[in-house]
């Protein structure tokens, strides 16, 4: 049913036609938010009335074909392994041998799972080797492949030596190497996502590496609480406190700096995942700070909560990126505003 009414002053309540919206209306008005830009519910807008148009609401960008399990899983396990190795090395040299040993095993396991996720994403195992055809600093994926190629064997050696007791000197060197490279394993993935045209990721390119490193540290602290003996878990409890604080700060600053695309971190699945991550991180940290020193089960539970928090953060960032690529609003609007701010709008463009 049409809701339009004919009045003396013309048509009122006329429904919009099916035509594609256009940007610079002939009388100098820009078309309002159209197509998929409209959202249900009366949510508060983060920006002044959005002015943009799109081609039938179709995305401007291509949505990455990456599977959440592969890529978000890769990010999580990579971070866990990297920060875990660093904590293992530090633990080994500060009188926490059992924790160091356990973390070496968990890091080897995590980096193996991470590689499995990567290979599953690529489709065939030999494709990982193709990644080492060239070394390109302009490609975070190429840089990351080389980091993994250096880190993986070091983490493997460290774990093997710890398990067998053989080649203790080589084991120590490998432990140090893995611990030194570990942070880059955790950090490069932030650049990996940020160096794309995906608005939620690219607009947060200053914050993503910090968030990923903090999240990796949360995971490593969680793993240390889960697998390390209670008597040695003081460093892990402190790291949990430090890393959770850093993660919460980095998350907030990411959402703010992503501008309009920051919405995608707060809505829908990414929003729910981030809330879950925050609650789990706070719960895990509280458990680590208050109970983990006294009770082994409490330490393990806190550790598990921290691990889950880190994973939830990775999935939230991944899904927020997809959501921001899917809606042309997040691509067009910031670019429109940028052009207007630069005063270099296209000829004939309304300002």
């Amino acid at each position: 049913m049409s809701e339009a009414r004919v009045t003396r002053h013309g048509l009122e309540g006329e429904r919009p036609g099916r035509d594609a919206l256009f940007g610079n209306g002939t009388d100098g008005q820009l078309a309002g938010v159209g197509g998929s830009g409209k959202r249900r519910g009366g949510e508060r807008r983060m920006v002044p009335q959005a002015e943009f148009s799109s081609y039938y609401g179709q995305p401007v960008l291509k949505i990455p074909a990456w599977q959440a399990k592969d890529i978000a899983g890769y990010l999580f396990f990579g971070g866990l392994a990297g920060a875990g190795s660093t904590l293992a090395a530090a633990a080994q040299f500060t009188g926490h041998p059992a924790t160091a040993r356990a973390l070496k095993f968990s890091s080897l396991g995590a980096i193996s799972l991470s590689t499995v996720a990567l290979v599953h994403d690529l489709g065939r195992p030999e494709r990982f080797l193709n990644m080492l055809r060239v070394a390109k600093p302009t490609s975070p994926m190429s840089v990351g492949s080389w980091i993994l190629a250096a880190y993986g064997p070091a983490a493997g050696l460290a774990a093997a030596s710890a398990a067998t007791g053989l080649l203790p000197r080589l084991g120590t060197a490998a432990t140090l190497a893995a611990g030194g490279i570990g942070p880059t394993v955790a950090a490069y993935t932030g650049v990996l996502l940020a160096n794309t045209a995906v608005p939620a990721w690219h607009e947060g390119h200053r914050e993503l590496p910090h968030l990923f490193v903090a999240s990796a540290a949360v995971a490593a602290a969680g793993m240390a609480l889960l697998v390390g003996p209670r008597a040695e878990n003081t460093p892990a409890r402190r790291l949990a406190l430090l890393a959770t604080g850093a993660e919460l700060l980095a998350t907030r600053s990411l959402v703010t700096s992503a501008g309009i695309a920051g919405e995608t971190y707060q809505q829908g699945r990414p929003g729910r995942l981030l809330t879950t991550a925050k609650r789990l991180a706070l719960l895990g940290t509280a458990g680590a700070a208050l109970l983990a020193g006294r009770s082994r089960p409490a330490a393990a539970l806190s550790g598990a909560a921290l691990l889950a928090a880190s994973a939830a953060t990775r999935f939230a960032v991944f899904h927020a990126g997809l959501a921001s690529a899917r809606d042309p609003k997040y691509t067009v609007l910031p670019q429109r505003l940028r052009l207007r701010a630069a005063g270099a709008d296209a000829p004939g463009g309304a300002g």
């Binding site: 004919v6 003396r8 099916r18 594609a20 256009f22 940007g23 002939t26 148009s53 081609y55 039938y56 179709q58 401007v60 291509k62 990455p64 074909a65 660093t86 530090a90 040299f93 500060t94 009188g95 926490h96 690529l122 494709r127 193709n130 990644m131 060239v134 390109k136 302009t138 490609s139 975070p140 994926m141 030194g180 570990g182 942070p183 880059t184 950090a187 932030g190 650049v191 160096n195 794309t196 045209a197 995906v198 390119h205 200053r206 590496p209 910090h210 990923f212 490193v213 903090a214 540290a217 003081t234 460093p235 890393a243 042309p328 067009v332 429109r336 296209a346 000829p347 004939g348 463009g349």
Partner: protein
């Protein structure tokens, strides 16, 4: 057909003001490049049933229906002639008015303008890979499968492509895509094989209106500047070039366009940027973050060390 341009940079100038939406470019591209079919679906988006550029659509014709006067018309409709008309009284006459006597029936076309045109306008534009001067897809490819040819175009070597899909979200135009069931990334090659043989790309060859023009980029830019100036003179003030400026966010496109409305109307980003422009800053932040992790872990362990001994 221009002569083989040798190592000169070549490209496309797509003048959408003369596009008739025949899709000959789409078909010629598929035929020549043996691009598989990508589904036979009706999108409901005017006559556009291919949707967007993708792994199996290297030329895509957009159809935009607008209630917007064509060039040469006044922007504002005048309602003076109807000022004294009592529409409510007219409505009361109801449908009893014989069709022949009715001033307006549902099928009466809108008032034509002095030059005989009605209000609906139809924009048609054939989109293609932009072959950017600073190509993000090429920058981020971890295997070197994407490379720049001697013609200044950007091409994927399909036997090297690893299927990582990193080029897909890197492209600010949403051009390159992984093919389903294949995993590798595909896009327009600007008919690299034809260029080598001194031929123009299939789409340009097939275009019946010369909406798609192929040639040395400098020459095309000159031609485009003249064309847009002429259109603006003759009353198409919205005509503008897109992707022709070598100072834009991607260093200018090897394929650029003459548009009759804002880029986003055609599904194009208004101000695309090559993502690697910010990469040095990202690496610095990553380095800083990594150092902070080392420092943080050392701090939580060292103090324990002192206290526990």
């Amino acid at each position: 057909m221009p002569e083989l341009p040798g190592t000169e940079r070549v490209g496309f100038f797509t003048d959408t003001s003369v596009c008739i939406g025949c899709k000959a470019c789409e078909v010629a591209c598929k035929e020549w490049n043996l691009v598989p079919e990508d589904g036979l679906e009706l999108t409901g988006m005017s006559y556009d049933n291919t949707g967007s550029l993708g792994a199996s659509t290297w030329r895509h014709v957009a159809f935009i229906e607008q209630n917007k006067p064509l060039g040469g018309q006044q922007a504002h409709r005048t309602h003076e002639a109807h000022e004294n008309m009592d529409v409510l009284a007219l409505a009361a006459q109801g449908s009893a008015t014989p069709v022949a006597e009715a001033a307006v029936t549902p099928t009466t076309p809108g008032a034509p303008t002095p030059d005989g045109r009605t209000e609906l306008r139809w924009l048609m534009a054939s989109d293609v890979c932009k072959h950017c001067t600073h190509a993000a897809c090429l920058d981020v490819c971890p295997t070197g499968a994407l490379f720049r040819t001697e013609f200044g175009t950007v091409v994927v070597q399909q036997d090297v492509c690893n299927g990582c899909g990193y080029c897909v979200p890197a492209c600010p135009y949403g051009v390159i895509e992984q093919r389903e069931g294949d995993g590798r990334a595909w896009k327009c090659t600007l008919c690299y094989d034809r260029l080598g043989a001194g031929q123009e790309p299939a789409c340009a060859k097939a275009c019946p209106t010369d909406s798609i023009q192929f040639g040395p980029l400098d020459e095309l830019r000159e031609r485009a500047a003249q064309r847009v100036a002429r259109l603006q003179e003759t009353g198409v003030p919205d005509a503008r070039l897109y992707g022709a400026d070598p100072d834009d966010g991607v260093g200018g496109g090897g394929a650029f366009f003459l548009l009759l409305d804002e880029p986003e109307v055609y599904g194009l980003p208004p101000d695309p940027q090559v993502t690697t422009r910010d990469l040095p800053r990202m690496w610095r932040h990553a380095g800083l973050a990594a150092l902070m992790l080392l420092g943080g872990v050392a701090a939580v362990c060292t103090r324990t060390h002192r206290r526990s001994r």
